[in-house]
Symmetry: C2
Subunit: 213 residues, 2 copies
DNA sequence: CAAATTTTGTGAAAGGAGTCACATAATTGA
DNA sequence: TCAATTATGTGACTCCTTTCACAAAATTTG
């Protein structure tokens, strides 16, 4: 298998396979075929095999895939086997919800810091949400704390007007990954990765499907 | 222009164009070219024209597109010109955040009801979040209230274990569109539309890009 | 132990989506 | 009025993704 550019769709599906494999593992299955996994993930079986083939050979012909091994391999591919250290910036409604999102704990995504421009007003609201109290830190200490706590991903939940300047701060602090929930497009330099999560786009999509079916 | 299946990517981009056109309109521009819009949305100019061509001819050769008209046309295509009446089910951390999401007001997405299985514990927390107090209603009144308030879209923010059964209730209440935030795949019958929003997939994607660049 | 069965991995084919390039149409200005 | 300019709409082309189909490999069965 020689090097090729991997489609983004493949990466998204790997994440789906990962979730399904966890359920299959829970159910006590030791081995799974591409056909079974495909049915569960609602994709084509050849698609599953092709996706995996980008990264190597993980199955045994005539048998299938060992669930535990495949899950571990996929997590290694995705980079979700290591622990990712995250910060939330903007502890309002959405930021607070993210702080108390329990699934992050189960996965290897860990929120290790919370920032706001107005910490006193929010510090009471979020404490103890994650089991242990979360201290909300003033945004002007972002760079210092990001270094100290080795933050790798920043979740932006400030108003849209502030999103780009917060992203700039994250870049300055060498936080390489950004997930932006504010409805404005974020631009980061080469070497950094920013993804925008637009709720309205998702709703527009739904509205379109509802209007045209 | 004859009928064709419209790519989902086109619909997503139309939503993006819509957002950009709003900014352009705000800036007081009356006319925009496909090249200008494309630069702003970070896509190819021909892509913009192709996307629009699926639905008709909206521009004037040698001139460009009238911003106001194009915005209105795109919203008509997406179905986001009409008001969409939504309900949030599961008024915990995320559900409360959605209730107080101010951008829904600006767009034509309106939350007109909130449901939970344990209303007394949450009723105080969400009141007045949207300007006017929001009454949290017991889930067992979903069908009745959905009819009464003409609810068209349900946002599921319950624990994953409850997500499918809540979806079933929504289907029974003939709520045609579902946006599911719980990390579990929802299945709905023909004629209904369900979209899952998996936070972990988005993070896995980011993790992959950070691990491999 | 060999034939039958199962299921992977992968080249080839088919199907979609994105880009290019240019004819076409509107406008401007001399 | 007509040439020059501008920018759309779209056929053709390229590139990418998905599906098909089957040889290869492992296992099971008689
Ligand atoms: N509420 C939702 O459900 C929801 C959903 C999708 C997207 N969003 C987006 O997420 C963002 C936050 O939404 P919200 O409802 O939580 O708003 P919010 O007003 O409740 O919270 C914003 C927080 O950001 C803080 N802040 C402002 N400027 C800052 C800065 N420069 N640095 C650090 N912190 C700063 C504020 O003090 C406040 O605590 C918005 O952009 C919104 O559009 C919200
Ligand atoms: N918190 C986040 O930031 C976040 C982010 C992404 C996804 N999610 C997902 O969204 C969902 C909610 O997360 P949360 O953190 O708000 O959880 P939460 O526990 O704070 O809220 C869940 C709410 O749902 C209610 N509920 C339970 N069963 C119900 C039923 N059958 N009918 C109606 N209401 C019911 C509960 O009473 C509770 O109020 C979860 O599935 C979670 O995985 C949360």
């Amino acid at each position: 298998m020689k090097y090729q550019k991997i489609p983004e769709a493949t990466i998204r599906r790997l994440s789906r396979y990962s979730r399904c494999l966890e359920e299959i593992e829970q159910a006590g299955e030791g081995v799974v075929s591409s056909a079974q996994l495909a049915t569960r993930c609602m994709v084509n079986a050849a698609q599953v095999r092709k996706d995996l083939a980008y990264f190597g050979e993980f199955g045994i012909r005539g048998v299938g895939y060992y669930v535990k091994d495949l899950l571990s391999d996929i997590k290694k591919i995705l980079g979700s086997n290591k622990e990712w250290r995250m910060a939330v910036i903007g502890i309002g409604n959405l930021g607070s919800a993210l702080l108390s999102y329990k699934d992050f704990l189960k996965q290897n995504y860990k929120i290790v810091a919370a920032f706001d421009i107005d910490p006193p007003s929010v510090i009471g609201r979020v404490s103890e949400k994650l089991g242990k109290p979360v201290e909300v830190i003033h945004i002007n200490r972002l760079k210092e704390v990001a270094k100290e706590r080795r933050i790798e991903i920043g979740l932006i939940t400030t108003p849209p007007s502030e999103a780009q300047s917060v992203a700039d701060l994250l870049v300055e602090a060498e936080v390489k990954g950004i997930l932006n929930f504010a409805p404005t497009q974020i631009i980061v330099p080469e070497g950094f990765v920013a993804k925008d999560v637009f709720f309205t786009t998702i709703l527009d999509n739904l509205a379109y499907l509802l209007s045209n079916n």
